[in-house]
Symmetry: C2
Subunit: 220 residues, 2 copies
């Protein structure tokens, strides 16, 4: 029974890691579209969204099947339970990448606001968070998961800084209100992406240690 | 076995409905704080967040117990599976109400931007969506669930309208950039709340009919 479970769980793991790759590529393409002012990258984000959504449905069905066929207990049950939640987080991350592409497309319709401030840096941090949160979960690596929680604070700080800078710029030059607002929304999308990776990291800590760090009860 | 499951499921239902009540009150208080310019209402939002977060952990644990003790099959398994997801959506709705209170608090620090445009209307629609999506799920009421999906379109349109109006106002009077941005973020929080209620409505349709309307595949 345990052997069957291990086999099926290994399949779930592969599917989740593949979804994670799609999400990382999606964030990458959305940010590249913005920095290189190239709409084609945004099209790739929409292609990837279809793949993420398909995976989302497949993983959900696969989890239901494992639960129905194997009736896993204790630790194994908790693992499947976590996969269901991680699956939902990854799907929503895909949505946020689409939102970046959407806001990015609007941004590109106007002349650029000189540099993109700290947005590309935020994008890099978030991609790292996606990869490392999944790594932390599957390797039961609590230290790595805690690192992801710290990255999230960095991402939040970058967002606050971007908000302030763009507000200042809008006040000085009201003609840039629309494109500045698009960048503010993109910063918000990236922040939400970071929040979802944080959920995964918290799940990793909970599964590996039994310590519930959700709801900020033990953020390092 | 089925009788035991029914009993435990009935307990889960009560917990979820209670969470739904907390979320509705939370949205209500966040919006009242804004319209009545009263910080005390925001404090209530923070109290409610603690209750929502506690419920979130309790429901998760209760679902794990039901799965471990009863090993439910087919329909029953799918119901527990849905509860896990609805629980996550409600918890995130609670977070969004907190975000409204947070942005609202910043908004109140500046002189008011005349009327609050369509924000209170958006708040009312969203509260209705929370109540009716849960009603639709527990009564397997597909028609009601579809109504919720239509409300979501209304909420999205209101958000777009609010965005446009506020952009216009910022351009005419750059001194209101910060408070206008706070209102834009609140409109975004309400939109996200509506999205979560939509997830619940889609879950209701899927469980009642087997028709997967996630990822916009069959939005009416």
């Amino acid at each position: 029974m345990q052997r069957h479970f291990d086999q099926e769980f290994s399949g779930l793991k592969d599917q989740i890691l593949k979804m994670g790759d799609y999400v990382q590529e999606s964030v990458d393409m959305a940010m590249k579209g913005l920095t290189e002012r190239n709409l084609q990258h945004f099209s790739r984000v929409h292609e990837l969204e279809i793949l993420v959504n398909q995976s989302h449905i497949e993983v959900d069905e696969a989890c239901l099947k494992v639960l129905a066929r194997q009736s896993p207990l204790a630790t194994s049950l908790r693992l499947v339970f976590s996969i269901v939640k991680i699956n939902a987080d990854l799907e929503r991350m895909g949505d946020q990448a689409v939102n970046i592409a959407y806001n990015g497309q609007h941004y590109l319709a106007a002349p650029p606001i000189k540099p993109l401030i700290d947005l590309p840096k935020m994008g890099e941090e978030v991609k790292l968070m996606v990869r490392e949160s999944l790594e932390a979960f599957f390797n039961a690596d609590i230290e790595l998961a805690k690192k992801v929680l710290i990255y999230d604070d960095v991402v939040d700080e970058l967002k606050d800084k971007i908000f302030k800078e763009l507000c200042q710029m809008m006040k000085q030059d009201p003609s840039i209100v629309e494109p500045a607002l698009n960048l503010i929304l993109i910063a918000r999308n990236l922040e939400r992406l970071g929040d979802h990776a944080t959920n995964i990291a918290e799940e990793a800590i909970f599964d590996a240690s039994g310590q519930d760090v959700r709801h900020g009860s033990a953020k390092p």
